[in-house]
């Protein structure tokens, strides 16, 4: 018989080129303890990620180090943490570039969430916001077809980015609105909300948008774009928030101060080609409330930060602005074709 014994074990299966990585890790043993930084050096394969390094520390050097992990392939969302001050998924962050650059990274827990221990944060506030946006499909009483709802690839594409979200919290960690208002729904929950608002099968669009347009909702985003920058999956939560704003406008939900603020910007630019800043406050918060802001306005005026309210504030030629306006307007309705296509087509008719 042919000798096939060489087949049982692969030679060289564990051969990896190695490198040495040094990390500074923020440690915190829980309530009452003092946070401090510890430095570790590990020997790992050149392909190692930040998570591989932490794992090596835990196995071989310091079993007390706490961090979450599971899939190690950027899909479960467990290992969000900060590296050099910005949120990353540890399992998606290759260490070789930092080693090559001779840079020692500092690892700390995510921001905007209470720290439990070391790199582990309390995700409870995060999940409560996800639950708050009614995170499930509601067809609005439409009876489900016998087979599938018909959704064309183009319609499905509307939520394809939001569908990528793994709820890791990296966006929330970096959200500056949430820093000043912990009740702000935040980028993850709002992206999840658009995943339903943009779903042609969902029949609860108006009610959803109404809820989302209120306090701590879509208009409280300061558009800093850190969420887009830090999302490890390309969800672009800020874009989702912008889409929610546009949908809310189309539904005529413009009563929120934030919405009115946006509207003044747009109308003013449309009319005169410029933003009329003196109109901004009264039109956003109303003339009566604006009176209370007069002392603030005078302070600004004294500092030379208020343009002459009586001077004409108009661009010489704003035809270009109007052309752009028209172009954008013609494109907007294509965002969601619910109105034209009606409710989803029953999958039984083929």
């Amino acid at each position: 018989m042919e000798d096939r014994s060489h087949l049982t074990t692969l030679k060289g299966a564990y051969d990896h080129k190695m490198m040495e990585v040094t990390l500074r890790v923020r440690r915190y043993a829980g309530e009452g303890a003092r946070a401090h930084t510890e430095t570790y050096t590990v020997d790992v394969p050149v392909t190692a990620t930040l998570l591989d390094c932490l794992d090596e520390i835990k196995d071989k050097q310091d079993g007390t180090l706490a961090f979450r992990k599971s899939c190690r392939m950027a899909v479960c969302g467990s290992c969000g943490m900060r590296m050099d001050g910005g949120a990353v998924l540890a399992c998606k962050t290759a260490m070789k570039p930092f080693v090559d650059a001779g840079h020692t990274v500092t690892v700390s827990p995510m921001g905007n969430l209470p720290v439990i221990k070391d790199l582990v944060v309390d995700m409870a506030p995060f999940w409560s916001k996800i639950r708050a946006i009614k995170p499930y499909l509601d067809t609005g009483g439409a009876k489900a077809p016998e087979k599938e709802w018909r959704v064309t690839p183009v319609q499905g594409h509307l939520v394809s980015k939001e569908a990528l979200c793994i709820l890791c919290g990296c966006c929330v960690s970096e959200c500056i609105s949430m820093e000043s208002d912990p009740d702000f729904l935040g980028p993850a929950a709002l992206a999840k909300a658009y995943r339903f608002v943009g779903d042609v099968r969902d029949g609860d669009t108006r009610a959803r948008l109404k809820d989302l347009s209120g306090a701590h909702g879509i208009w409280d985003c300061t558009r800093c774009y850190f969420c887009n920058q830090r999302c490890p999956k390309g969800v672009d939560p800020r874009d989702a928030i912008a889409k929610l704003g546009a949908e809310a406008f189309r539904e005529g939900l413009t009563r929120d101060e934030g919405a009115r603020h946006a509207k003044v910007f747009v109308n003013s630019a449309h009319k005169g080609g410029f933003l009329r800043e003196t109109e901004l406050v009264p039109k956003t918060i109303g003339p009566v409330a604006a009176i209370t802001q007069i002392p603030f306005a005078l302070q600004l005026a004294r500092a030379g930060k208020v343009p002459n309210p009586l001077a004409p504030h108009k661009a010489k030629d704003n035809a270009e602005v109007k052309r752009l306006w028209k172009l954008l307007e013609s494109q907007a309705p294509k965002q969601k074709e619910r109105a034209n296509s009606g409710a989803p087509i029953d999958g039984t008719e083929s």
Partner: protein, 545 residues
């Protein structure tokens, strides 16, 4: 989650206990898709799906169970779609279906290459909708069997510490597989066979444990899986000479032969020196930028992140890695075990629909269909029987607290990580794609020695706050028990069938071995026993692709 949703809908008080937040479970990593004979792409039927699955199982799957899954799969898919699952579509809006290995028709429904992700999120959404209580980050340390029936679970609160008793008339295990006992596995860190080991300790046999599927296309750096969808979309496998070596073992199906067949062909290429740095090459370059970007964006991202290769320009080095455990808790077609009140569904269970080898796209379908069935059947039982009086005695809880405290305060001994690494290498080297008597016997001895070493561990974290050091020690215990069951079964099975390929017994032996193995717990040792395979219509044939 699927079982919990079904039970809750039936009006039963239900809770989910999970060592992770529910969306962190490893089903979310499934990429390629889920199989149901919808016939949206070409003509297809549950009967053809059944035959493909029976043949794929190398005739070890129970044909009644396979018939049930293939018949009920389409309805379950439509239901997932109605729940809100975001699937890829054909131009006319129907669910798209693509070809997968060893399937007679394009049968795999998918969501680009993030199908598992989409499904786990839609199930979590339904969990929220149905207001189902979740004990997040609670690690089950033991089942409580009282007077011969399951009375609930004991669980360690990972975040805050402490052992808690959670009483239940019925417990459904849905804890997934045990890939982490192998080096270079595709599985998450969490896949440590906890549920199998819980059931085994509680006196339920584990079935067909020797069958561990090796996925043909995993990355060398960390075992991450590159979906079979890559080959479904037309990718080639090449050796160092550029040859499409599948022409030798599967001239018809080529790269889309069954996973066990492809893994063996690759392993042989690498072992015989026709590999590239211990891998073969998965070549997608001819598919073009657009197809890779639209159909396989996740795979491209994984190759870029973990292999530093852009598949649009260069082939991806891949090798076989432990991926899916066909074996598991012995249950019937409703998911019920021999212990009343104890059920199992998904990879932790062995019904068996996958037999000796699972087809790509059948595992997500199994979790959904048999998860639903287990939830439904357990709920019916609750409604019919009422409270069975399941109670966990104070003394039982105290005993478990003492056990965990002893482990927590153990001094001396070895770090769990050291034993885990040794186990993973032993399994990969000695119970891998090709197996033989003498090497398997060494493996059994080594696993026994590791189990012995595993009895004295050194936990460095003694706190009760998010103590993952303790959790990893508990997980190691599960893996060691599962490994023992696996190798004991493997050394006994003197034939080659599906994923169990013996180089000393190269043929399938239906006369002696067309039977399920059962690994029982005999005072901590593994005792083997066998039971027949259920055959309905399909008599065993030679399996070629």
């Amino acid at each position: 989650m699927r079982a919990a949703i079904e039970a809750k809908r039936a009006g039963v008080d239900v809770a989910v206990v999970s060592k992770l937040h529910p969306t962190r479970s490893h089903s979310g990593a499934a990429e390629g898709g889920i199989n149901a004979a919808l016939g949206n792409a070409t003509d297809d039927s549950p009967e053809i799906h059944t035959f493909d699955t029976v043949k794929g199982s190398d005739y070890l799957g129970d044909q009644d169970a396979i018939e049930i899954m293939c018949r009920e799969a389409p309805g379950d898919i439509y239901e997932l779609e109605h729940m809100g699952a975001i699937f890829s579509r054909f131009a006319d809006g129907r669910l798209a279906q693509r070809p997968f290995g060893a399937a007679g028709a394009p049968r795999t429904i998918y969501s680009a290459d993030i199908t598992g992700h989409v499904l786990i999120h839609v199930l979590y959404e339904q969990l929220v909708k149905h207001d189902i209580k979740v004990y997040e980050e609670f690690f089950c340390t033991n089942l409580v069997i009282d007077d011969g029936r399951c009375a609930g679970v004991l669980a360690w609160d990972v975040v805050r510490g402490g052992v808690h008793a959670i009483e239940a008339n019925h417990v459904i295990l849905a804890t997934g597989g045990v890939g982490r006992m192998y080096y270079g596995t595709t599985n998450a860190f969490a896949c440590t066979g906890d549920g199998m080991s819980l059931a085994w300790r509680a006196g339920v046999p584990l079935k067909d444990m020797e069958f561990m599927q090796f996925h043909p296309t995993t990355l060398k750096s960390n075992g991450v899986l590159i979906t079979e969808g890559c080959r479904g979309e037309g990718g080639y496998l090449r050796n160092s000479k550029g040859e499409r070596f599948m022409a030798i073992d599967a001239p018809n199906a080529m790269e889309l032969a069954s996973r066990d067949v492809v893994s063996r062909a690759e392993w042989k290429e690498i072992a015989e020196g026709r590999g590239v740095d211990g891998c073969v090459l998965l070549d997608l370059t001819h598919l073009g930028h657009k197809k890779i970007e639209t159909r396989l964006p996740g795979s491209r991202e994984l190759a870029l992140d973990y292999a530093g290769v852009d598949p649009i320009r260069d082939p991806i080095p891949v090798r076989p890695g432990a991926h899916y455990h066909m074996g598991g808790v012995d249950v019937d077609v409703w998911g019920e075990s021999i212990v009343p009140g104890l059920w199992a569904a998904g990879e932790v269970a062995c019904v068996s629909v996958h037999g000796a080898n699972r087809l790509g796209g059948n595992s997500l379908m199994e979790t959904i269909t048999f998860g639903r069935r287990a939830g439904q059947a357990a709920a019916e039982r609750v409604l019919a029987e009422g409270d069975t009086g399941a109670r966990i005695e104070r003394s039982v809880l105290e005993d478990e607290r003492n056990r965990i405290n002893t482990l927590l305060n153990a001094t001396g001994g070895e770090r769990p990580g050291a034993i885990r690494e040794q186990l993973a290498k032993t399994m990969y080297d000695k119970a891998g794609v090709f197996r033989t008597q003498s090497v398997l016997e060494e493996c059994v001895e080594e696993v026994h020695a590791l189990r012995e070493r595993g009895r004295s561990l050194r936990i460095e974290d003694r706190s009760s706050l998010f103590n993952s050091d303790l959790v990893q020690a508990l997980e190691l215990e599960s893996m060691l028990e599962c490994a023992d069951c696996l190798v004991t079964g493997a050394v006994a099975r003197q034939e080659s069938r599906g994923a169990h390929a013996r180089i000393d017994f190269t043929e399938r032996d239906d006369a002696n071995w067309m039977k399920h193995s059962l690994a029982w717990n005999d005072r901590g040792e593994v005792r083997l026993d066998y039971k027949p395979v259920t055959v309905t219509k399909y008599q065993p044939l030679v399996r070629s692709y």
